[in-house]
């Protein structure tokens, strides 16, 4: 006893201090390693992509000609916007509806938990499998023609659905129960509580989740490959084949021509800027809202 007291606190031995230092340095090093790819990708995107950007790059369709002017990416930009917009129109209302069921009615019932489980299952399904599914169900069976933009939207919507459900569920759960109870005590029927109290309170969070889902869908290639297919010209007809940015990039990467790879960089930069803008807007809305998930 007295011996310990006399000795007091022993300083950390050199060996332990060294191993601490080494371990912490390794952790820091690995963290830096994680950031390197992002910096490298952004650097190359800006370096190669900005070189491809010009007014005509955004205002002309790809020509598909092997020699001469390869054209721009107008049809790809329009196609991505149209198809993602349609996909959101499908996925967001259904997703929010399912989330409302889970939070307001289903709660911890067996059915609700089963639905939750399968929504999680959907999150893990590879996007290429969703594309394959829509291909089997809508393209092979020739429902209103073969490849069509709206079928691509359906595939994207399937991809977005679980993301929307999960994020909306989290936000709806954050709506204080006291608000619901106050409205119910004042005599409001259930549906009015949902429409007038729960949804408006949760709105910013739902918008954030939906925007993140949209950002994810906009960058997906595999589901569109089998459903909307590739085409050069731009059109707003959702029943026809439609070009999209990811598919344009995928097509150009495979070409052995530098000019086409250059166009791929330009299109990639456009896509990344769009996706990052959506992400940024989503985060800003999230920060504004009081119910931050």
């Amino acid at each position: 006893m007295t011996a310990v007291a006399r000795k007091g606190l022993r300083p950390v031995s050199g060996r332990r201090r060294r191993s601490d230092l080494i371990a912490r340095s390794v952790v820091l090093l690995f963290t830096l390693v994680a950031i390197v790819p992002l910096v490298a990708i952004l650097y190359w995107l800006l370096k190669e992509g900005l070189g491809a950007w010009s007014t005509s790059f955004f205002t002309t369709d790809p020509t598909g000609r092997f020699l001469g002017d390869p054209g721009g990416i107008r049809s790809a930009i329009l196609g991505t916007i149209l198809m993602v917009a349609l996909a959101s129109v499908i996925a967001v209302p259904i997703g929010v509806g399912v989330a409302l069921y889970l939070v307001e009615y289903g709660k911890q019932s067996r059915f609700a938990n089963t639905v939750r489980y399968f929504v999680d299952v959907m999150t893990g399904v590879p996007s290429v499998v969703f594309g394959l599914f829509v291909y089997i169900v809508l393209v092979v069976t020739k429902v209103a023609g073969t490849f069509a933009a709206w079928k691509g939207s359906v595939a994207l919507a399937l991809l977005m659905l679980p993301v929307v459900v999960r994020s909306a569920e989290v936000v709806l759960n954050l709506v204080p129960n006291s608000l619901r109870e106050a409205a119910l005590a004042l005599g409001a029927p259930r549906w009015k509580v949902i429409v007038k109290i729960v949804l408006p309170t949760a709105l910013p969070g739902i918008v954030t989740g939906s925007l993140l889902a949209i950002a994810r869908a906009a960058g997906e290639t595999a589901p569109l490959l089998f459903t909307a297919a590739f085409v050069l010209g731009s059109s707003a007809d959702l029943s026809q084949r439609m070009n999209s940015l990811p598919l344009q990039i995928f097509n150009d990467v495979g070409q052995a021509q530098d000019r086409l790879v250059q166009r791929a960089w330009g299109a990639a930069l456009t896509l990344v800027v769009g996706v990052l803008l959506l992400t940024l807007i989503a985060r800003l809305i999230q920060r504004r809202s009081k119910l931050a998930p």
Binding site: V12, R24, F30, T31, L38, V115, V129, T279
Partner: protein, 333 residues
């Protein structure tokens, strides 16, 4: 004084009290409930339909080659209508293994740094930076991988291949698109998700445990080793499994950088193929050939089942980690 004056018997049409809701207003409630329940049921129906349709369409391939024959035959030669998916399965396994080996340590280190070591000022920007990696579309990773990373790394890979040729799966000529590059790209792609979930788990480590370790004189690293890592082991395993699920299913980036050769490569620097890549790459030729199409759909089904299993295991671990019951008896409270 009379009770009647306190509760006036005011009625509207139909003789019902004004305190009662109109029949229409009352009808909306069950309607909404049934509508929303229907939407939820739709998800279940959709997944059942999804699985059944995939299975029916893949059936011709399974009938022809057998279930095990399809998965374990080493011959994917569409021109001879031979569809044995072993080269694809092996490719998926090799690339995912490389992705985990490289990605998981980096992701865990990032999570540890952000939660335990980083100065407060750095924390938020670092978190956002790592999350930005998740926002980059996979086709852009593919483009960067094949146009920048693969050619730049080729000399280094060749040196490694020559120097360490005594190791298994290393040696020989390095081709520009190869398993390793695909695995490396996948590693970069799974870092954000593995790191985010690890971070979440690590932030649930009770500060009592950490402070106890520090109070006993542990260094920061000893505190991490004794308090943080043991507590969050299940969650980190789950995070790694979720990363694995991502890596298995990733399609476009891999299709671009793996070379799409339907033979099992001799080394990790040979060209290869994965289950997901074969679908994206060959579906165009398969459109007119029913058995080829069935084989690709069968590959998709195998992929689907694989990700299902991996994700189920992942969910088991993550749920176990997030439940407070996972704290060993005697350590709780």
């Amino acid at each position: 004084m009379e009770a009647g004056s306190l509760t006036p018997r005011a009625t509207v049409r139909g003789g019902r009290s004004i305190h009662e809701r109109s029949p229409r207003s009352r009808a909306i409630d069950p309607l909404l409930k049934w509508f929303l329940s229907g939407l939820a049921a739709l998800i279940l129906v959709l997944i059942a339909f999804f699985f059944i349709r995939l299975f029916i369409e893949a059936k011709p391939a399974f009938d022809k080659f057998g279930y095990l024959g399809f998965v374990f035959d080493n011959s994917w030669v569409p021109s001879q209508t031979l569809y044995g998916a072993l080269p694809l399965v092996v490719g998926t396994v090799i690339t995912s293994a490389i992705a985990l080996l490289i990605g998981v340590p980096v992701a865990i280190a990032t999570a540890l740094y952000i939660t335990e070591l980083a100065p407060n000022r750095v924390r938020a920007p670092l978190t956002i930076t790592v999350e930005l990696l998740a926002a980059v579309p996979s086709v852009v990773y593919g483009l960067w991988g094949i146009a920048v990373l693969a050619p730049k790394l080729q000399p280094a890979e060749q040196w490694f291949s020559d120097t360490f040729s005594f190791l298994p799966l290393v040696g020989g000529q390095v081709s520009i698109p190869n398993y390793f590059i695909a695995g490396l790209i996948l590693a970069i792609m799974i870092v954000p998700i593995v790191s985010a979930i690890s971070r979440e788990v690590m932030s649930t480590v009770p500060s009592d445990h950490k402070e106890a370790a520090l109070a006993l004189g542990a260094t920061r690293w000893e505190m991490i080793k004794m308090a943080v890592l043991p507590y969050s082991r299940a969650g980190i395993s789950g995070a790694a499994m979720l990363g694995l699920g991502r890596a298995i299913g990733e399609t476009i980036a891999v299709t671009i950088v793996i070379g799409n050769a339907a033979d099992i490569g001799n080394t990790i620097f040979s060209q290869g193929y994965t289950l997901a890549a074969v679908i994206a790459n060959e579906f165009g030729e398969a459109a007119s050939d029913p058995i080829h199409r069935a084989a690709l759909i069968a590959a998709g089904l195998v992929l689907f089942v694989l990700t299902l299993i991996v994700n189920a295991i992942a969910r088991y671990y993550v749920n176990r980690a997030s439940r407070p019951a996972s704290v060993p008896k005697g350590m709780a409270g």
